[in-house]
């Protein structure tokens, strides 16, 4: 039992090495900065609570698409009772800026820009003056 100290030291070093990814990640996450998103200045409520939009905006957009195109339903009653037109360019992008909101988050999480924009138009490209909704 003369080598007890060495064995314990070695074991400790081994455990430290084994758990190093955890430490490394904790350290990295401490200095982590999220995507620099620009939220609409004059609007606080979205069609769903923010955390739900974070995780399920894609399903919502697909539902909107099918409702408008295939079921002829055009308005969406939000959780707070407000009624919205189900339109990507007309409603979503009347508050959000594609470049500073959609694209930045997609780039941050490494999600490919979806092909929505192959057809749907970013209003900022066609009418810069109206891209941001000015408070009236």
């Amino acid at each position: 039992m003369r080598d007890r100290a060495w064995i314990l030291l070695g074991l400790g070093a081994f455990l430290l090495l084994l758990s190093s990814p955890l430490w490394w990640n904790m350290r990295a996450r401490a200095g982590l900065k999220g995507p620099d998103l620009v939220s609409p200045a004059d609007q606080k409520d979205c069609v769903l609570p923010a955390h739900e939009m974070n995780v399920s905006h894609m399903q919502l957009l697909l539902q909107w698409r099918d409702k408008v195109v295939r079921q002829e339903i055009h308005s969406f009653k939000a959780y707070d009772g407000k009624v919205y037109d189900m339109r990507l360019s007309g409603t979503c992008l009347s508050c959000h800026e594609k470049a500073k909101f959609c694209d930045r988050c997609h780039a941050y999480v490494g999600v490919k820009t979806p092909y929505c924009w192959d057809c749907h138009i970013d209003p900022a490209q066609t009418r810069p003056a109206l891209a941001r909704r000015s408070p009236q």
Binding site: R65, V69, R70, E72, H74, R87, S89, G90, Y115, D118, C119, H120, I121, P123, Q125, T126, R127
Partner: protein, 257 residues
């Protein structure tokens, strides 16, 4: 129990017939269905258009409806005719109504430009051939609608449509578009498109863009199933023709020549 060879064969035959009888019956019944004329039951409205070519002819240089449609739906204008995308356009009378030709026709009638667009048929052949359900006939208003999200660009519908009402995007349409209308999407390369009777405007209580733009009043739009509609009154008081009704597609665009 002893069974003779003859009895065995009889029994086998009878059993096989019984087993296959159900399938045979359903196959025959299905064949009967397929042969029957597929008349569609229209539950709600049937939106239709009446085009008065006489009023059009009074304004030979007018392209108001075509321009309004192009602007409303972001329709590209390609110089190469092979890439053309058309929703509403003009064709010479002889091409629009090939069976209306007679030996001695009024001067200029053959060449007379006639507005053409999707006929929103009662029995649309394009809908029957679409493998993805990207085009369908709406039950409540009879519009032959398109879902560009679902179109895979196989162009079966273009082959099926006897009126040439559908166009294919061979090239990215955004390369041939000037000012974009931000409230309506463009299409993408590899998608078929055509006139949709403006359901996005109808939903807001507006008339189709072409009808609204026509200052000559040559385009009349309405519900054929409503006996009190203006289009019904017009159809019942004057002689109108449709494009190639002999095909059985039941076109819903009517013409006064």
């Amino acid at each position: 129990m002893k069974i003779s060879r003859k009895q065995f064969l009889k029994l086998t035959g009878a059993s096989l017939l019984t087993l296959s009888g159900g399938k045979l019956w359903s196959a025959l019944a299905y064949a009967g269905q397929a042969v029957a004329h597929p008349v569609q039951l229209i539950r709600g409205k049937q939106l239709a258009m009446l085009i008065d070519t006489r009023k059009c002819a009074e304004h030979p240089d007018c392209t108001g409806c075509i321009e309004a449609c192009a602007k409303a739906h972001n329709i590209p204008s390609f110089k190469n005719p092979a890439h053309e995308v058309k929703w509403i356009w003009t064709e010479p009378f002889e091409n629009v109504f090939p069976t209306e030709e007679t030996r001695f026709m009024p001067a200029g009638l053959k060449e007379k430009p006639v507005m053409v667009l999707c006929n929103h048929c009662d029995n649309p052949p394009c809908v029957r051939v679409c493998p993805t359900g990207a085009t369908w006939k709406r039950e409540d208003d009879g519009i032959v609608m398109m879902d560009w999200h679902r179109c895979i660009g196989c162009r079966y519908c273009m082959a099926a449509c006897p009126y040439g009402s559908r166009s294919f995007n061979w090239v990215d349409p955004r390369t041939a578009l000037g000012d974009l209308n931000p409230v309506f999407p463009t299409r993408t390369k590899g998608v078929v498109e055509k006139c949709t009777f403006c359901p996005e405007r109808l939903a807001k209580g507006q008339l189709p863009a072409c009808v609204e733009a026509c200052s000559a009043g040559a385009l009349l739009f309405g519900d054929l199933n409503d006996p009190a509609s203006a289009i019904r009154t017009q159809l019942e008081t004057q002689r109108t023709i449709r494009r190639r009704p002999e095909l059985g597609t039941g076109p819903n665009v009517y013409y006064v020549i």
